[in-house]
């Protein structure tokens, strides 16, 4: 097989992996601060995908223009969800949190099925069938835009957590919950903001994802699982780990499809997960627990 084929597939895997990473980043942020595992993560992404599909087909808008508005809508959704529903479960046993979020996931999927039906829906963009050629490398234009948007969004999130007062307060909550309470931080408010930010990440990822795949209501569970694989591989609670995990899984799936058999792509992603759990249980960039 010509070497450029490997390069093309690897580049495609990196770009898809960046969007995966942005999606998983939301899960990682929520768990890292609120300590709730969002089992409705993939379903929240499908909400964003359908919002994008409706707006793109109804108003002929480009998904790239909708990135920030949809992220804002999902932020509001996440904020209200945390304040109105999840907050009451923060101190309850983990299995009740699990049941709550699984129930939420099932409700989201079925509401989407009722509204949109089971058919796959796609967005039509001017660059939908375009590709960029640089020497032997031929890259899908939509994937390039989606990957770049994922980098920009993730970078903005890093800056927010690193350099803003609210971001610092959220990190303080994550590092020392009791200490945050002692110094008078409004932890409930910060938890809601964090859940909103996680939802905004998944909203941005969903908006970009419609450039790569078609939206169907049944997508949720597989992407929830994928987000788990990515954050566990990258390190649960680690933001750079989520992006690294996303890229690693994206490239692994792509290369496994090329070198072995495409129908076994997922198998290799799970094999990496097993290896990480065996030899580095805290994930590639995660902190080792005491």
């Amino acid at each position: 097989m010509p070497p450029d084929v490997y390069l093309n597939v690897a580049v495609g895997g990196v770009l898809t992996g960046l969007v995966y990473g942005l999606m998983a980043l939301g899960l990682s942020v929520i768990f890292g601060v609120v300590r709730v595992v969002n089992f409705a993560h993939g379903e929240m992404m499908t909400i964003a995908m359908f919002i994008a599909v409706v707006l793109c087909s109804g108003f002929h808008l480009d998904p790239l223009l909708l990135l920030v508005p949809i992220a804002a809508v999902m932020f509001a959704f996440g904020y209200v969800l945390q304040r109105g529903l999840i907050n009451a479960f923060i101190t309850r046993p983990e299995h009740t949190q699990f049941l709550l979020l699984v129930a939420l996931a099932i409700i989201i999927t079925n509401v989407l099925l009722i509204i949109f039906g089971p058919d796959a829906r796609s967005v039509q963009t001017a660059y939908g069938y375009d590709s960029f050629q640089a020497g032997p490398i031929l890259v899908d234009a939509a994937k390039v835009y989606a990957g770049l948007a994922a980098i920009v969004f993730a970078a903005a999130l890093f800056v927010f957590f690193r350099y803003t007062t609210i971001g610092t307060a959220i990190r303080a909550c994550a590092d020392n919950h009791t200490g945050a309470l002692v110094v008078g931080l409004n932890v409930k408010q910060l938890y809601a903001l964090t859940f909103g930010l996680g939802a905004a990440c998944v909203g941005a990822a969903g908006t970009m994802m419609v450039l790569i795949i078609d939206a169907t209501p049944m997508l949720g569970p597989s992407y929830t699982l994928l987000a788990f694989v990515i954050v566990i591989t990258g390190g649960l609670g680690s933001m750079p780990g989520a992006l690294l995990g996303g890229i690693l899984i994206g490239v692994t799936e792509a290369m496994a499809g090329l070198l072995f058999t495409p129908s076994a792509k997922s198998m290799f992603a799970f094999a990496i997960l097993v290896l990480v759990l065996l030899f580095r249980p805290q994930g590639l960039l995660g902190k080792r627990l005491a």
């Binding site: 097989m1 010509p2 084929v5 093309n8 597939v9 495609g12 895997g13 898809t16 099925l113 039906g117 089971p118 058919d119 796959a120 796609s122 939908g128 069938y129 375009d130 590709s131 031929l138 899908d140 234009a141 790569i212 795949i213 078609d214 049944m218 997508l219 597989s222 799936e253 792509a254 499809g257 090329l258 058999t261 495409p262 129908s263 792509k265 997922s266």
Partner: protein, 415 residues
């Protein structure tokens, strides 16, 4: 409260009890008349299709064949049918459960279910319960190889599809005066795709095709992105693409062919997807070119025009296709059997289906009849091509109405 309950209990007197028993007896006595009335009424048919899930698009397309059947069957002088819909949710276990439920709900004959895996599960239920199943679409040979007495299929098996496909490809190569030397074979990794892949491996050598298979690529039926698969296929430098796919993946494959700037000489599809209405709607000009070797309609048959007119009235702009034809013909078989048997008794219905001999039909071939295994072994495939947003028939010669467009126009030059 407890006192009141006692009082209610006491109100059931001997007189009330006698009256109740009398009423029950009356109902029981009338029961045979109910059955007799049912025999004279419409036949209850349980139609099982994947109306949701991964195959929802195709299942809903099959439903069009059901929707237009009523008036056409009536115009043919056939009895009325009552349709009870069942959704297999594109899942084998659900298909089995829904078949049981439909029979429980009073279905006297089953039709379905597009997918071989789901149909196999339904066939087991039909045989166990002694209710006839007329398969609309499903090609896995084993469905009519189990010695079942209640299962009938008016649809070619995978080996029959392959035999016709290879013969018709040769017809097309002869007309075009050109043939590919190599092909890359891409197939969906489900029951149907795997059966077809095995069949191609076994059958192709017997036909001495002018091409060889450079590479075989199997992919997940739920795949959302086929870029790697197409990159792998393109890297083989094969002249043409041989595919066994479904609708969603046919669209995904075409998108990737365009994005990766690869237009093979031809796309030969041995299954659904590439000729379907949704494929045309989604891809517009990019849908032109692929050839499908599929069970199809004979454009020269009288009932074809009737079916086309019925579809045009119900769903303007939708092309008549395999899903409509064979779902309609399954109902045609059921109505014809009911008319001849005059009974809803499953055994009598099954016997009537077994002796079916319909010559005024839609599909290519001499008509509908079943061999001892319950298979219509005379039904034939057609070779069709998407040209200008329409579907034309290239082969067999007796059903052809156009010449092949060869090679495919490059995707990049279609504007």
């Amino acid at each position: 409260m407890s006192r009141k309950r006692r009082s209610n209990s006491a109100s059931v007197s001997r007189r009330t009890l006698t009256a109740g028993l009398g009423a029950a007896g009356l109902v029981a006595g009338l029961a045979p008349f109910n059955i007799l009335r049912a025999q004279g009424g419409p036949l209850k048919i349980g139609v099982l299709l994947p109306r949701s899930g991964i195959q929802a698009g195709i299942g809903q397309d099959c439903q069009r064949g059901v929707d237009i059947a009523g008036p056409i069957l009536k115009s043919l002088g056939l009895p009325e049918l009552t349709i009870i819909n069942g959704d297999t949710e594109s899942n084998v276990d659900t298909a089995r459960a829904r078949a049981e439920k439909l029979i429980g709900d009073g279905a006297q004959l089953l039709v379905g279910a597009f997918d071989s895996g789901q149909t196999t599960a339904i066939a087991q239920v039909a045989e166990q319960k002694g209710v006839p199943l007329v398969v609309n679409i499903a090609a896995a040979p084993q469905i009519t190889e189990q010695g079942y007495k209640f299962v009938f299929r008016n649809f070619p098996t995978a080996p029959m599809i392959l035999r016709d496909a290879f013969e018709q490809q040769k017809e097309i190569f002869a007309i075009a005066g050109s043939a590919p030397k190599t092909v890359v074979f891409m197939h969906v990794n489900d029951t149907y795709g795997t059966a077809m892949a095995k069949g191609i491996g076994a059958v192709m050598p017997k036909f001495e095709m002018p091409y060889t298979i450079a590479e075989e690529i199997a992919y997940d039926p739920a795949a959302r992105d086929l870029s790697v698969e197409v990159a792998k296929a393109k890297a083989t430098n094969a002249d043409a693409l041989l595919v066994v796919s479904r609708l969603n993946d046919a669209i995904l494959l075409t998108r990737e062919l365009v994005k990766q700037r690869w237009t093979p000489q031809a796309v030969f599809s041995m299954g659904p997807g590439w000729y379907e209405d949704q494929y045309f709607k989604t891809l517009g000009k990019l849908s032109d070119g692929p050839m499908s070797f599929v069970p199809w309609y004979d454009p020269h048959k009288k009932l074809t025009d009737v079916l086309k007119a019925g579809l045009a009235k119900a769903d303007p702009g939708v092309n008549l296709n395999t899903n409509h034809i064979y779902t309609f013909e399954a109902l045609l078989v059921a109505a014809d059997a009911y008319k001849r048997s005059g009974s809803t008794d499953p055994a009598a219905l099954a016997e009537a289906v077994r002796t079916t001999n319909i010559t005024d039909n839609v599909s290519i071939g001499p008509g509908i009849s079943f061999n001892a295994k319950g298979q219509n072994d005379k039904v034939k495939d057609g070779a069709i091509q998407n040209i200008g947003g329409e579907l034309v028939t290239l082969a067999p010669k007796e059903a052809a109405n156009a010449k092949p467009q060869w090679p495919m126009a490059p995707y990049q030059s279609r504007g």
